[in-house]
Symmetry: C2
Subunit: 357 residues, 2 copies
């Protein structure tokens, strides 16, 4: 096996100095055409590639972005990653992914690991456990170390950084109003516990839509799911909860669910109870994933544009990274991060399918 070739080896082989080789390969005009040709040919022959690690050490930049998400087996998050990856690559950055698995501890461990020189900045979405604990010191510590962060989707005011969020509130309003316009009289909501910011915002949107249409909110029509339980038999538990919910509220004729799993599961349960969709009950979900598209009937959803979120996040981060460029002459450099953090709101969009009239 040929070990990767280095400048030093080329230099020795060709009996020149390392710096000559370095310069020749960067096509410096300091070097004679002859020598350049010789060195470049040799380098090509041996398939020379500069060692990124050495460059990172020297430049104090790794040109890679750390992504930290709660879960990868999740359509929304993979869509975001794809978006990040796309612009990152286009702008010359690599992407490294860490999974918190919704755990506070794992989030911290991953973060410290990556912050230890592997990455230039983070794009992340906060884990459920962290949101519950409301302990954000690790984010602030990272920022203090000069590593910028961009948060998306699950964000929090306590951390000063750029943020990209979905307009959860407005999306929920739109969805609920669609049901109202479609003549639903008893619109139910299936949501998560309040500590998940997106769940809370969507719930608020639902309430707001009712209110501004002079419909009194009925607490009985709101089902809050505790999804901290283990995932094993999650589905069965979910189905049972929803079944109970439907049985005790037989008048429900419209349903807004804060994610597509809840929506699809609800449709399944409804069908089991002999209801047909959208005739007896109209359903709208949040998150436009595979499930929505291929469910029966296909699900009307509020699309979050995950890929766009990823792209915008990456742009925000890289912009900031390049703004604190250390390469500039010091009188031009701007090492202090800007304090004006940006909060981008990505508009949602209702994708109409068969589950609404």
């Amino acid at each position: 096996m040929k070990r990767k070739i280095t400048l030093k080896q080329i230099a020795k082989e060709l009996d020149v100095s390392v710096s000559t080789v370095s310069k020749a390969l960067s096509d410096s005009k300091e070097i004679s055409e002859d020598t350049k040709q010789k060195i470049q040919a040799f380098a090509k022959l041996y398939n020379y590639r500069p060692n990124n690690i050495a460059l990172s050490l020297k430049n104090r930049k790794t040109k890679t972005i750390g992504i930290l998400i709660p879960e990868i087996v999740h359509h929304f998050f993979s869509t975001v990653i794809r978006g990040i990856e796309r612009v990152a690559n286009r702008r010359g950055y690599n992407v490294i992914v860490g999974l918190s698995n919704e755990s506070f501890t794992k989030e911290i461990i991953n973060m410290e690991m990556l912050a230890g020189g592997s990455i230039d900045g983070f794009i992340l979405s906060i884990s459920k456990e962290t949101m519950l604990k409301q302990d954000y010191h690790h984010f602030n510590a990272t920022i203090d170390q000069g590593i910028p962060i961009v948060m998306f989707d699950r964000v929090v005011d306590e951390v000063d950084c750029d943020k990209v969020i979905v307009d959860d509130f407005k999306g929920a309003v739109k969805a609920t109003e669609k049901l109202i316009v479609n003549k639903c009289k008893n619109i139910a909501l299936i949501t998560t516990m309040d500590y998940i910011s997106v769940g809370r915002l969507r719930t608020q949107g639902y309430l707001e839509a009712l209110k501004s249409n002079n419909i009194e909110a009925n607490p009985n029509l709101i089902l809050k799911i505790d999804d901290t339980l283990d995932v094993e038999n999650h589905i069965e538990v979910l189905e049972n909860e929803i079944e109970q919910f439907f049985k005790t509220n037989p008048k429900i004729d419209g349903l807004f669910a804060v994610n597509e799993l809840y929506a699809v599961t609800a449709m399944k349960v409804a069908r089991k109870l002999g209801l047909s969709i959208p005739e007896d009950m109209q359903v709208i979900g949040f998150t436009d994933g595979v499930l929505s598209k291929h469910a029966t009937p296909s699900l009307t959803t509020v699309s979050q544009h995950g890929q766009k979120i990823g792209e915008q996040s990456a742009n925000l981060l890289i912009d900031r990274l390049e703004a604190m460029d250390y390469d500039k002459p010091s009188y031009l450099a701007n090492n202090e991060p800007k304090k004006d953090f940006i909060k981008l709101v990505i508009e949602t969009e209702i994708i109409e399918r068969e589950s609404t009239k």
Copy 2:
């Protein structure tokens, strides 16, 4: 903003040498308790973290694994990543993800980028375009550079490396035989073009099952989908093709599809044509993803155990990485990679749901 603190700065601050600090922090017994205490306290106070990059350069190891997959918005691949991530983290490795987006060129670019010092080894699944071109020089070049590769799922004999594959052939046999046992008389197959190895193997399994049960294969009952087309209106095209297929073959009473999208779409089309499942037609898919679980009726599938594939791949890679450990005294070292490459076959399993009797 506090810049990350280094050994050098601590040394200066405490008026000792860099090596003293280094030793003190690794709790070397060469250093007096007094000095150690002082230095450790100071380091803790300033939240010292060693710079991975410097360590990588020194150790010629990055302790990170490069994953290269065709697509991330794909349940199977994210499951595999989760598996890889899990064992990688447990064994002290990080994970970095590159997306080829099914493109030959992007696969190469990503590969070269990561191979340039960022990673110790690759775990990858080959892009469609690469399989089509049958050009695998970049894999071999990487291996020649001393960077081991583990391939999973879409693998190829032309590259000498460890491989982890699903038993596609046997899985397809099992699925087809299940349909036969369930008394289907005209079993159809929806598959991909032959250059995708997994599609080919599954097709072979289907044929084998028919043959060993003395059923003559009918070429008309095999639908090959060309999925190189752009994804935009992919679904509609797919639906139309399947609809035609069903119309010209009205006797089909059993269907095996090589992925869950084809299976779910076929069920949708079947329903549209007035067929009920599983009464009129039984359906089995491959790949146990979200769609299968939540489809209506839920889909019987051949599960690939993606997470297990990921875990095994990571173990294979790390084992090999540690086998070529450079830290050992040279008379013990084993720098030449072992030539006996392992091909692990992960057994499939049929998950029975509502789409079969």
